[in-house]
């Protein structure tokens, strides 16, 4: 199916929940939904358009809020669903009831940005080490890493 046809199908499926759908390049579509409508929209996308595969979930630190993008794909089209949560209340619903394979990506979001994913089946940290100090979220822009002094054996320190 061609790109304009797919654009119309996405608009029809999401109805009022979805914002504007853009098509910046062949087979790439971006749509914005509100944070509270996320689970419903994902359910509609799965039932009506057959989006069962989520490639990954990216988080972004956009100043006053966090932006979260869900990358879905089917043969012939790749749809990116964008949503925003304010930093003062960083809660987002989990999409695992609809797509069970998204669990690892949500755990990584919790680790890296400090987002809280509600109703996540498994809330343990994924990639950070066990002795990582709490409340330090590496991918936030404000977090800077201070390199400790290195001792070079047999040389000048």
């Amino acid at each position: 199916m061609t790109d304009p046809e797919f654009l119309d199908q996405v608009k029809a499926a999401l109805g009022e929940k979805g914002g504007e759908v853009t098509n910046p390049a062949t087979r790439r579509f971006f749509v914005t939904v509100g944070a509270s409508d996320l689970l419903e929209s994902v359910k509609l996308l799965r039932e009506k358009l057959g989006f069962t595969y989520v490639a990954t979930i990216s988080g972004l630190d956009a100043g006053e809020s966090f932006e979260i993008i869900y990358h879905f794909a089917i043969p012939g089209a790749q749809l990116n669903v964008r949503t925003q949560v304010p930093k003062s209340n960083p809660h987002i619903a989990s999409i695992c009831p609809v797509i069970p394979g998204a669990i690892l990506y949500e755990r990584e979001l919790q680790d890296m940005f400090g987002l809280k994913v509600d109703h996540i089946p498994d809330p343990r940290p994924l990639v950070l080490p066990d002795d990582w100090p709490a409340e330090n979220y590496p991918l936030c822009k404000a977090w800077k890493h201070i390199r400790p002094e290195e001792k070079i054996p047999g040389g000048k320190s």
């Binding site: 595969y53 988080g59 990358h71 012939g76 994924l126 990639v127 950070l128």
Partner: protein, 400 residues
């Protein structure tokens, strides 16, 4: 009586550190849990401090076996951001190296699968042939691994007629040797019986848990980015998507073998239809503020990069998702209700490129809490002895 075995970070089996904790009852695995983080190097934060060109070298070193996949996926995305189009000859050379990398990666994996199943001769044979491919890559790019042949706008080196002839000759040798091995593999009943029925993943599970690459294709789910979302020159080069219906380790071996034969055909096509012309165009220093999603079919599955630019000469956000991460939930499902003796085989069958997994098995006695370190070689020996006594599955057929 349930025991918990941690398969910890240092392990003789293969390459990367990853920790698995399995709860077992007798010989059957009831539950499995994967712990990551040994290989987390903080690349995404590091990428925000380097320029667009320096990041090519950084993304190459995400993985050693599929280094060209990450570099190409990133370069493709940035070229779209900068709105430059590499010339046709540059694209053909880029994907020639990509298919050569797929050949080398599948040969590596076949050797590893043979080694885990106890077929060490197969391991030595396939790795010896892999050296032919490494020689070709070294002649083209100068290094055996991490061939930094991509640049923003094309490729860095060209090939001449002598190299072309050498590649075509080596291809003939590789093809005839590969066919010989697959005949051996197909007619060796112990090998086929050892890997049939191990590590089942049904089609429904593969779809629900978002499995990618040969794992999904072996469960009869034909997902291949080169066909679903063609990038580069894949809409001109003819090939077929390889699938298998058996949903187990035998299916995965068959899928990779079929892909290997397809790769040889593709490389021949690309060499014979190589267009003339320049190999690269100039790239600007800054990219316009925009975002792009780039997908690529690495030997292990789908590789996806999300790049966002805010108008400077450094990226604002680079998000990388390597294919093996997507296969983890499916691995947990495969390990459940499997046997302890099959752990090395199942884990090798997902083609782990976790970039760091050495696994050591520590048996924790549930009752007394004592620990005993069991090397994986002992587990492997146990596995071989068990299979010697098990009856041969005469119905397992090599569906090639």
């Amino acid at each position: 009586m349930k025991f918990t075995i941690p398969i910890g970070p240092q392990h003789p089996a293969l390459k990367e550190p990853i920790s698995l904790r399995m709860t077992i009852e007798g010989e059957v695995i009831r539950d499995a849990d994967i712990k990551l983080g040994y290989n987390h190097r903080g690349l995404e934060k590091l990428a925000e401090e380097k320029t667009w060109l320096q990041n090519i070298y950084l993304t190459e070193r995400i993985c050693g076996i599929c280094s060209h996949s990450h570099a190409t996926c990133y370069t493709q995305g940035v070229e779209k951001l900068m709105e430059i189009e590499p010339p046709r000859r540059g694209l053909y050379l880029r994907f020639l190296v990509a298919e050569l990398e797929r050949v080398h990666s599948h040969l590596l994996w076949l050797g590893v699968a043979g080694h885990e199943a106890g077929f060490d001769t197969f391991f030595m044979y396939t790795w010896r042939d892999r050296e032919i491919v490494m020689d070709i890559l070294e002649a083209i790019s100068g290094n055996r691994v991490h061939y930094a042949i991509n640049t923003l706008g094309g490729v860095r080196r060209d090939i001449d007629d002598l190299q072309k002839k050498k590649i075509l000759d080596s291809l003939d040798t590789l093809r005839s040797r590969s066919e010989y091995y697959f005949k051996i593999g197909a007619t060796e009943p112990t090998f086929v019986a050892r890997i049939a029925g191990v590590g089942r993943l049904s089609k429904e599970d593969a779809i629900n848990l978002c499995a990618v690459g040969p794992m999904a294709r072996a469960s009869d789910f034909p997902q291949d980015v080169r066909k679903d979302d063609p990038y580069g020159i894949y809409d001109e080069v003819p090939f077929e998507v390889a699938t298998a219906t058996t949903c187990d380790v035998l299916g995965r071996v068959v899928v990779r073998v079929k892909e290997l034969m397809q790769c040889y055909n593709m490389i021949e096509f690309m060499l014979q239809n190589l267009p003339d012309g320049p190999i690269a165009v100039r790239a600007p220093r800054r990219a316009k503020p925009s975002e792009v999603v780039s997908r690529y079919e690495a030997p292990r599955g789908e590789n996806i990069h999300y790049i966002k630019s805010s108008g400077g000469d450094k990226p604002e956000r680079l998000k990388v998702r390597a294919p093996t991460l997507a296969n983890y939930p499916a691995t947990v499902v495969m390990l459940k209700n499997g046997f302890v003796a099959d752990i090395p085989l199942i884990f090798a069958a997902i083609d782990p490129c976790i970039c760091c997994a050495e696994r050591v098995v520590t048996l924790v006695n549930g009752r007394s809490g004592e620990e005993e370190v069991v090397p994986l070689s002992r587990l492997r020996r146990l596995a071989r002895e068990r299979w010697k006594k098990a009856p041969l599955n005469k119905d397992a057929v090599w569906p090639l």
